[in-house]
Amino acid sequence: MPVIEKVIDETPYIRTFVLDRTFRANPGQYVMVWVRGVDEVPMSLSYENAITVQKVGDATSAMFGLGKGDRLGVRGPYGNGFTLTGRSILVIAGGVGAAPLASLAELAHSSGISVTTLLGARTKTELLFAERFRQAGELRIATDDGSFGHAGFVTQLLERTDLSDFDGIYTCGPEQMMARILNIVKDSMLDRIQLSLHRYIKCGFGICGACCIDPEGLRVCADGPVFTGIRLANSEFGKYRRNECGMKVHVQ
């Protein structure tokens, strides 16, 4: 089981845990991280050997108590990850959704694909991986409180962007943000937008059914977490998800 080699404070609520193990993975694939005695939760690989974690509850808080030399249980990588295509792509990242997208942007850049990133956060200090996106291409920033870049949502930046410049759109962030994005892009773009979903993941093996989304019964943990817009257009996405019991809860 991997040992934590380094902990990087990315923002006041987000830390990167660099592990002593490298995973061969596509950007967008995730691992199941076991914080012993607490919980096991899915986390995207933010580097080939790291995860980047936002403190939101029990397991993530427990992780914030760990440091260099501590161990995490890690299994995976799981899921499909993003598929890179075309010569010019648009990346839209909200909050900790930047985690799987930064390495995608880097991979695209090093493959000669031109990258434009729209990066959003609540406030300036919560912007994640701005420098990585900047190195990979053009970067436009939005903060809810206007402390940096555009004052407002990344979706507003998107509305001002000419989408015909791009062969593909890649996004990860709060579901409401991604749902709005899906409304903004034209129908003709639906097969060229890839969205990484968050759903409650129990097994990660594609066996237990906890993460299935309506109406196709697609498993976020194994068929996803990345889906094209076409797959999601007439789905539960943006409307509801399921809790640990399998009950529908509305996406706020």
């Binding site: 129990k202 066996i207 399921r242 399998g246």
Partner: protein, 305 residues
Amino acid sequence: MSRDITIELTGLHLGNPVLLAAGILGSTGASLKRAAASGAGAVVTKSIGTVPKPGHPNPTMAETACGFLNALGLPNPSYREFADELRVAKEGGVPVIASIFGADAREFREVAEGLAGADAYELNLSCPHAEGYGAMVGTDPGLVEELTAAVKDCTRAPVWAKLTPNVTNITGIGLAAQRGGADAVVAINTVRGMAIDIESGYPVLGNKFGGLSGPSIKPIAIKAVYDLYEALDIPVIGVGGISSWQDAVEMIMAGAASVQIGTAAGRDPEIFRKVASGIISYLDSNRWELSDIRGLAHEVTYASD
């Protein structure tokens, strides 16, 4: 590939004898429909109870040398929420069997009645890792008979009793279900098991222990089905470690009237079609009918006999 492998199972007509097992991908109507579209002859839902249950804390599943341990802990949204999923599932066009659990006869009946419209009920008398449910009731022949009779009493739909292998004498439990009026037994649920992380000493499951599934338990399931077939008059539905048509044929030869696939269906949701067509080719190339191989292992002869 034209041989007929449709079967009549406890009055249900199935296009093929390869079913989705309870608790695998069966937590929503949509995922049950997906299994039906992937060729399952019928689908069994996740086990449903009287009240919403989140199940055990994660990790709820872990891989072993040749299978999986799970301790999901019967997460379910209760029959009230699940009734809707059942309706969606039935759009799949194959029989939908509601797996139900409860702590006593009253609860079993409440869930069965709440899930009216199911084509059959499968009583979970066998989940090895939920306090007060499943195998906690399924190891006691008296209780098994009582619970089976209680559900039989409140529905016209066929009732299947799903058995745990974690008993001294599985046929004794099977006979109790038969006395209670069960139309079929399903064997086996997972085998109790545990794994420990040697770096920390922590059991790898949040619930510490759980149930073993997958290829590791196939020989255990084959033996259970073989014994139940000898002892009972009602059909035996075989489940445990089936991941190929060969495994399904083996289970049928042990005496299974039909088979269910769990773990392997998670790995490959298209497995139902593959297994069914594998069975067809196998029968074709041997010029056999499905009925020729059912229970065949009981009919072979020995020089010493």
